[in-house]
């Protein structure tokens, strides 16, 4: 419940404010809707009640973060059509609607805030495990021989093979796709 009230306390500052507040409100609403249907969310809900208990709250009463002013951010990224094409090819997701592109641009803008952090003299970290020892395994056969179990997980099998669609159907070139994606606004 305090999540709800917290959301109400936050103010929108200017155009660059993100729609976090609305998202979290919707989320909590959905939560309550699902509560009566799903056991798991009921359990989580109970846990949430505890964590939002006034004596045990891990959630601050007031927002502790600030929006970064626009002038501190690099210029907004514009995504050229070729890049959209390449991203769609890599991710296998069609997103070239106005809404899709706007969403992508906002996501990039949100990440742009990272540029404010001073990383001079700091080695990039690519894993929280970086100072742990990498465990080496002995070269002895310990696994395998469970073809039946694995094949049962697949909807489509043939004898002892997994079945997949033919080859890798290449995405058609942009010109050809224009005809296919008539709803595209590019």
């Amino acid at each position: 419940m305090s999540v709800f009230s917290l959301a109400a306390k936050r103010t929108c500052r200017g155009v660059s404010c993100l729609k976090i507040t609305r998202y979290s409100v919707t989320n909590v609403e959905n939560f309550h809707r699902r509560r009566n249907r799903c056991l798991q969310s009921h359990i989580t809900n109970v846990t949430r009640l505890f964590s939002s208990h006034p004596h045990n709250s891990k959630v601050p009463e007031v927002a502790t973060w600030e929006l970064v002013p626009e002038d501190q951010l690099p210029p907004p990224a514009h995504i050229p059509t070729d890049l959209v094409d390449k991203l769609e090819r890599l991710a296998l997701v069609d997103f070239r609607t106005k809404q899709g592109l706007a969403c992508l641009e906002k996501a990039i803008r949100f990440a742009d805030q990272l540029h404010v952090v001073d990383t001079s003299g700091v080695e990039p970290m690519d894993s929280v495990l970086e100072d742990r020892a990498l465990n080496l395994r002995d070269d002895a056969v310990m696994e395998g021989d469970c073809a039946e179990e694995l094949l049962q997980l697949s909807k489509n099998t043939a004898e002892e093979y997994f079945v997949a669609p033919p080859g890798n159907i290449p995405l058609p070139k942009r010109e050809e796709r224009a005809a296919l994606l008539k709803h595209s606004e590019l």
Binding site: S127, L129, L136, D138, D139, V141, A164, P166
Partner: protein, 485 residues
């Protein structure tokens, strides 16, 4: 007509070849899981939940694979990176269940090496020409599964037995200029890997896969557009495929067109991210640099691996030259053909003949016949002892050299028959009976008076030349007649 002096004649277009080699590591289990590694097994029987990319599974690095990579790096004069990192390379394909391959793109285990290989060149292909190619890096990575395309039912059948098997990717710089060089480099690499035991190097079974990057340019000018030559399963075909591609590109450019490059979607260096489930891989230089309390089975020590390196092919070649007094080109052929050194040494054991006199038979006669029928040494119809017997008969004067070659041919054709049998059967024995030879010579001289006269006249002419025409012809003829009868 020659043009202005400032214009140089345009140089010829030459080929530029770089190689990407994927060598399957010779280990019992896969790179990150404990599933077995075997060439043929029932489909999907060598697959663990991790190999099938089921949620909740994690990679655990195989120590043997690390040792194999270090050993190979040392044999190829690389710098071993004390600390190397793992990455994920993302792309979509049905035989890559995780949607990414774990590899070492950023910081691989070994870098900056060199492979020295040799070619037989020169007019008679008897000169050993040494060449080198730089090794950019050696990285550990996962193999993918196998896909079988069923066009009839418009589907692909996936077998994940090979998914996750350890590979060493060796990147060779574009220091080669033709198919022959590339083939020789690959052959040498094959011999090295087989000597080390880190890879069995069988191209037809996919244990060694070579992709060639081919372009053409004029020396001194920037490199041309590259194309890739893939799916090659023999060293011989590699040479031909590369040369064909070089010629094709030259033809394209000479027609004024441009070489087309069809890059795969995942060729652009995107889709990489660090592998978050694996800390950096640390290898230690020697026992002294091991951290205290570390378990011995958790440490890969470079010095120990270096000390345990077996005899490499180049060292073996030099040793054979030293031991047997044979020429470098002979030693090159001996080491190049599987089983030939053993064959040669077996022949030497069974004959008193000098190695220098035996080697020609092995590298010319035997290898020549084998190559002609595309056979390996193990398939030779003439065994080392049979060849030794033939050479003994020649050495002891029972047959002449030319007859020996004839007998060799006959032995090749009718496998199992000994040299002695053939010689006796066809009466090819050397005739050394003086009396017999005397009568034969007399008979020939008597029945060919014209030939005798021609020879005498020729000798006369030579004597006159020597004496500048001052010799008494009658006297000379009498002396010569006496000398030749």
């Amino acid at each position: 007509m020659p043009g202005p002096l400032s214009l140089r004649a345009p140089q010829q277009l030459v080929g530029v070849v770089g190689l990407e080699v994927h060598a399957q590591i010779n280990s019992n289990t896969k790179l990150f899981s404990g599933s077995g590694v075997r060439f043929s097994a029932p489909p999907n029987s060598l697959v663990s939940p991790f190999d099938a990319s089921l949620p909740g599974t994690l990679p655990v690095l195989n120590k043997r694979c690390v040792e194999a990579a270090v050993m190979t790096g040392l044999a190829l004069n690389c710098t071993i990176n004390r600390k190397s990192l793992f990455d994920r390379k993302h792309y979509f394909y049905a035989d890559l269940p995780a949607g990414y391959q774990i590899t070492q793109q950023r910081r691989p285990i070994a870098v900056d090496g060199m492979l020295t290989y040799s070619l037989l060149g020169g007019k008679k292909r008897s000169q050993v020409i040494r060449k080198t190619v730089s090794i950019k890096q050696i990285q550990l990575e996962q193999d993918s599964g196998k896909s079988l395309h069923d066009d009839l039912r418009s589907q692909t059948l996936i077998d994940l037995n090979r998914a996750g098997v350890g590979l060493m990717e060796l990147v060779m710089e574009p220091d080669m200029s033709c198919g022959e060089e590339a083939a020789a480099a690959v052959r040498e690499l094959q011999l090295i890997l087989q000597a080390l035991g880190t890879c069995q190097g069988n191209m037809s079974e996919g244990q060694l896969r070579v992709d060639a990057n081919v372009s053409v340019h004029r020396p001194g000018e920037p490199l041309g557009v590259r194309t890739e030559v893939k799916n090659i399963n023999s060293v011989r075909y590699l040479a031909r495929a590369i040369d064909y591609e070089i010629q094709r590109q030259i033809g394209v450019l000479q027609r004024g067109e441009a070489v087309q490059n069809e890059t795969r979607a995942y060729d652009s260096k995107s889709g990489f991210m660090p592998e978050p489930n694996l800390p950096p891989l640390i290898v230690y230089e020697d026992n002294a640099s091991l951290p205290s309390g570390i378990d011995a089975c958790q440490a890969v020590v470079v010095q120990k691996i270096r000390e345990g390196l077996p005899e490499l092919p180049s060292v073996k070649r030099d040793r054979l030259v030293q031991t047997y007094g044979i020429l470098p080109e002979h030693s090159f052929t001996l080491v190049n053909e599987d089983g030939l050194v053993e064959y040669f040494e077996a022949v030497l054991k069974a004959t008193k003949k000098e190695p220098r006199k035996v080697i020609g038979w092995v590298t010319n006669e035997l290898v020549g016949h084998l190559k002609h029928q595309d056979m390996s040494v193990s398939q030779s119809p003439i065994s080392p002892s049979a060849l030794a017997e033939l050479l003994e008969l020649q050495e002891t004067g029972h047959i002449s050299s030319s007859v020996a070659k004839q007998v060799f041919q006959e032995m090749w054709r009718s496998s199992g028959r000994t040299a002695l049998e053939i010689i006796q059967e066809q009466d090819l024995g050397l005739v050394s009976d003086t009396a017999q030879l005397h009568s034969i010579c007399q008979k020939v001289v008597d029945s060919h008076p014209d030939e005798v006269r021609k020879v005498l006249n020729k000798l006369m002419g030579l004597v006159q030349k020597e004496t500048k025409g001052r010799a008494d012809p009658v006297l000379v003829r009498a002396i010569l007649h006496e000398k030749t009868s």
